[in-house]
Symmetry: C2
Subunit: 484 residues, 2 copies
C-alpha cells in the first residue's frame, strides 16, 4: 500500500478508533493474539526460514508476543492507566472560585512503527510497539522489516482479520513495505503523530532527526541498543569465579549475541582470580557452537565492527575466530580501564556474540569508568554483601546511565511486566522518559487533556461523576475508586 494512502486511512480510522471503549480495544488485542496463534506452525516455520532463528526460540517468542497483547488488553480494560484526575469546583473560594477540572490521557493519533529484525514476532508487526499503540487508542501504520517480509505479511493477515471480526475500520492497522525512502515519507507525513522504532543507532537517529525537522515535530521512540556493561566487584569475583564466567558467556552467546541487552562490556578487577575468570570465559566462548546470524548483512557488520575494535590501542584479542558469511562466531577481547577511558570508540556496540573485558585496578578507576559511560539500556552490578559502600557509590552513578540496573542475573531476558523499563538515556534510546517493553510503554502514545466545567454527557466515561468500573482516580489530590 502506498504510504500516503496508508496514513490517510490511519488518520480517518483514528476518528472512529479513538472513541472506542476500553472493552472494545481489549477485545481487539485479544482477537489479534488468537488470530496469531491460529496461524499455527506456518508462522513459526516462515519466521525460522527468514530469520535463521530456531523453532523453539520462535515458539517462545510467539508466546511472549501473544501474552504481551493480552497484558495490554488487561491494562486497558482495567483502565487506570489514563491517570484520571479530578479537581472538583470550589464555587465559593476567595478571591476566585475554582472551576471543575478533569484530566486524562488521550491517544496521540496515527503511529508509525518500525520493527526489529532480531525479534521477528515480539518486536515486529504485532510486537510491543503495535500492542501498546493500539492499546492507547492510536492507529498504526507498520513498516515491514525487509529481514522477514513473509512473517510480517502473515501477522498482518491475522491483525486485519481481528480488526474485521471486531467491526473496526481497516485503517486501524496498516502494513506498508518499501525501502529507506518509504520509511522517510512515513515519518514526514503530516498525519503521523509519533514513531516507534527498534534497531540500529544509525537507523534510529536518522528517523529522529527527520522527525525533529518536520514543520510540526513529533515524538520518536527509537530503541537503538547499547553495550550493557557488567561491573564485577573485587570480592564478588572471588566467589564462584568460574560459574560467574559461564553465566557471563551464556548471556553473550544468547541468540548469537543479537539481543539489544547482550552484555558487551565486563569490568573486572586486576587480581589473582582475574586470570581464572578470563580463562573460563575464553573456554566457554571458544567451545560454543556458532549459530547462524539473522542474515549475512548482520554477520558482515559483526565481523567488521569486531576487526575495527580489535585494532584499537591497548586491546588484546583473546578469542578471535575466522569470519564467516552467516555464522556468528564468538569473540573476546581485553583491555585496561585506563585504555578504555582514553578511547570513547570502545563504547560502540558490536552487535553479535562478542564482549570486551575491561580490567580496572581500583575502585576509583571503576567509578570513573561508570561516570564515563554513555546511556545504556541496562547496567549490571555484581557485588558481594561485604561491598555495600562501593555498590552504593556505583548505584548512585549507574542509575543515571541506564533504564534498568541489575544486581544479579544477566541483562538478556526482558520481562514483559508492569515494573520493566526497556529504555535508557541517549544513545540507548531517543527518549529516556519511556520504555518499549512492559505496560508503561502505553504512556508513549498518549498526552494529557483537561476538560474544564464540562457537562457530564460530554465527558469521557473515565471522568464522569459515576465511576461504575471502579477506576482508580485522583480526586482533589487523593487516589480513590469512588464515584463523586
Amino acid at each position: 500500500m502506498p504510504y500516503n494512502e496508508a496514513l490517510t486511512n490511519a488518520a480517518q480510522a483514528f476518528e472512529t478508533y479513538k472513541i472506542t471503549t476500553p472493552a472494545q480495544r481489549a477485545q481487539l488485542l485479544r482477537s489479534i493474539a488468537e488470530a496469531i496463534e491460529a496461524l499455527g506452525n506456518e508462522l513459526l516455520e516462515t519466521a525460522s526460514r527468514e530469520s535463521n532463528l530456531p523453532l523453539t526460540r520462535l515458539t517462545g517468542e510467539r508466546g511472549r508476543t501473544c501474552n504481551q497483547l493480552r497484558l495490554f488488553a488487561d491494562l486497558v480494560e482495567e483502565g487506570s492507566w489514563v491517570e484520571a484526575t479530578i479537581d472538583t469546583a470550589l464555587p465559593d473560594r476567595q478571591p476566585l472560585p475554582r472551576p471543575d477540572l478533569r484530566r486524562m490521557l488521550v491517544p496521540l493519533g496515527p503511529v508509525v512503527v518500525f520493527g526489529a529484525s532480531n525479534f521477528p514476532l515480539a518486536f515486529s508487526t504485532a510486537g510491543g510497539d503495535t500492542a501498546s499503540a493500539l492499546a492507547a487508542g492510536c492507529t498504526v501504520v507498520y513498516k515491514e522489516h525487509p529481514g522477514h517480509p513473509q512473517t510480517s505479511q502473515l501477522v498482518h493477515k491475522a491483525i486485519a482479520q481481528a480488526i474485521r471480526a471486531n467491526g473496526l475500520p481497516e485503517g486501524v492497522f496498516q502494513h506498508v513495505s518499501g525501502g529507506v525512502e518509504a520509511g522517510q515519507e512515513l515519518v514526514k507525513h503530516l498525519a503521523t503523530k509519533a514513531v516507534a522504532f527498534t534497531g540500529s543507532y544509525k537507523g534510529g537517529k536518522a528517523i529522529f532527526d527527520l522527525a525533529m525537522q518536520r514543520e510540526v515535530p513529533i515524538p520518536v521512540y527509537a530503541e537503538m541498543g547499547s553495550t550493557n556493561p557488567v561491573f564485577i566487584l573485587p570480592e564478588r569475583i572471588k566467589e564462584n569465579t568460574e560459574q560467574l564466567a559461564r553465566q557471563a558467556a551464556a548471556s553473550v552467546l544468547l541468540g548469537a549475541g543479537q539481543f539489544c541487552t547482550c552484555p558487551g562490556l565486563f569490568f573486572i578487577p586486576e587480581s589473582e582470580v582475574t586470570p581464572h575468570f578470563i580463562a573460563a570465559l575464553e573456554e566457554e566462548l571458544t567451545n560454543a557452537t556458532p549459530a547462524n546470524m539473522l542474515h549475512d548483512g548482520i554477520a558482515g557488520n559483526y565481523y567488521k565492527g569486531l576487526e575495527k575494535l580489535l585494532q584499537a590501542e591497548g586491546v588484546q584479542a583473546l578469542v578471535h575466530q575466522e569470519a564467516d558469511v552467516l555464522e556468528g562466531r564468538a569473540a573476546l577481547a581485553s583491555t585496561s580501564a585506563a585504555h578504555w577511558l582514553q578511547n570513547p570508540a570502545l563504547q560502540e556496540e558490536v552487535f553479535g556474540p562478542f564482549t570486551l573485558v575491561v580490567r580496572y585496578s581500583n575502585a576509583a578507576e571503576l567509578i570513573s569508568a561508570a561516570k564515563a559511560l554513555q546511556g545504556q539500556l541496562t547496567c549490571t552490578l555484581w557485588g558481594s554483601d561485604q561491598e555495600h559502600e562501593l555498590q552504593q557509590k556505583l548505584t548512585d552513578v549507574l542509575r543515571d546511565k541506564c533504564g534498568r540496573l541489575l544486581y544479579s542475573g544477566v541483562p538478556t531476558g526482558v520481562e514483559v511486566s508492569h515494573a520493566m523499563t526497556h529504555g535508557g538515556p541517549f544513545p540507548a534510546t531517543t527518549d529516556s522518559r519511556s520504555t518499549s517493553v512492559g505496560t508503561y510503554a502505553i504512556k508513549r502514545f498518549a498526552r494529557p487533556v483537561t476538560f474544564q466545567s464540562a457537562p457530564q454527557a460530554l465527558l469521557p466515561a473515565e471522568l464522569r461523576d459515576e465511576n461504575r468500573s471502579g477506576l482508580w482516580r485522583t480526586i482533589n489530590g487523593k487516589l480513590s475508586q469512588a464515584s463523586l
Copy 2:
C-alpha cells in the same frame, strides 16, 4: 556567573541533591516560599516598576507563586508521584523464573529554565518550571529574563538563602544573565539534561531546534502561546448575548491581553443576534481603559502584528485605535469562516488585547474550522443544552487540538492544581505530553529506572519492602499502600 561554571556547579550539586529525601526537598520548597514572602513590598514594587503590572495583580501573583511552591512540597512529601511499581519475583515460574523488578521515576539532571516576561513571579525565577524541577530532584540553572532583571535578582537572593538555610549546595539553583548567545550556550552545554521555556514561538522553536541538534538531544518543554479559540454555538449566543460579549471582552483585556491563554479568536454564527454580540464586544473594547504593556518592544510587536492581520483579505477592522509606544489599546476585527479557512496566517497569535471574530454560516463550516486549527493551549466551547450533538462532534475534534477544553468561563486564569493541563499540541508547546502548570508538571523532569534483583539496602526508600510512609505503589499490577 558564566554559563559554563553554572552548569558545572549544577551537575556537581545534582550528585548531592538527587539523593535528598522527599522531606528535604519539600522543606527547601517551603523555605523558598517563605524567603520570597519575606522580601515584602520591595519585591512587588520592583516587579511593578519593571513590568508595568499593577501592585494588586503582582500581590496575587506572588501568592500564586508561593502556593505553587507549597503545592509541590506537599506532592513530593506525599511521594506517590514517582509511580513506584513492583513486580515480585516468581522463582518457580515455568519455563523461566521472573526476577524481582522495581521501577520508579528519578530526576533527569540539571534543568535550564527560561522565564517569561508576562508573569515576572509565577512563570519566572521561582515559577512553575523551577518549582517542579526542584521538586523532581533536578538542579536548576535559571536564565534571567531581561524584562525584569532586578525582580529576578531579588527572587534569586531568596532562593539562595533558602538553599543555604537547608544546608544544600549552592549549585542547586543558579542565576545566569546574558543575551541570546548565553541562552544558546546553556542549551548546548553537555551537563544540561532538559530545558523549560515560556515565551514566544520564535524563541521556543529556536531553543528546541538547538537542543535537537545536540550530539545528545535533550527534552525541551517550550510553552509558546496560542490563539485560544472560543466556539459559540447558534443557540447559546441567543442566551444573554450581551453578557457573553462582556465576558469575552474581559478575558481579551485581562493583563492588557498579555496572557498565553488570551482568547484571540471567536467563532460566532451568522444570525440575527450576531450584530448585537459584535456591537457589545465593540463597545467593551472601545471603552476599556488601556493599560501599559510589559515594555515598548511588546507594544511595538502588538501593533505590528495587528496591522499585518488587518491587511489580510476579507478582514474588517471593527475597533482600531491609534498605536501607542507603551499602551496596549484594544482592537477587534471580523472575518468570515470562509476567508479564515483560506488563510492560515489568520491563525497567528497577536500578543495583546485583540481578538478576531470569525462568522460561520453553518455547523459543517464550524467543524471544518475546528479541524483546521493548529495546536492550542485551550479551546472553549460555549453551547446550550439543546446543542448536545454539535457539542459532541466539536468535543471529538477539539480534544485533539488542545491541552484544555472549556465548556463555560474563559480560558484566561490557569488554576494551579492536580488536574490542570497548561500545554497542548505543537505549536502551542514543543511537547504535547506535558503541562507547565499544576502538579503533573513534575513528570517533565523525571524518567523511569527499574532496579532488578536489588538488595533492600541499595534500593531507594520508595521501592523497599517496608512502606513506612504509606506511599501508593503498584504491586503486581494492583495499587496498594501496603508493605511487602
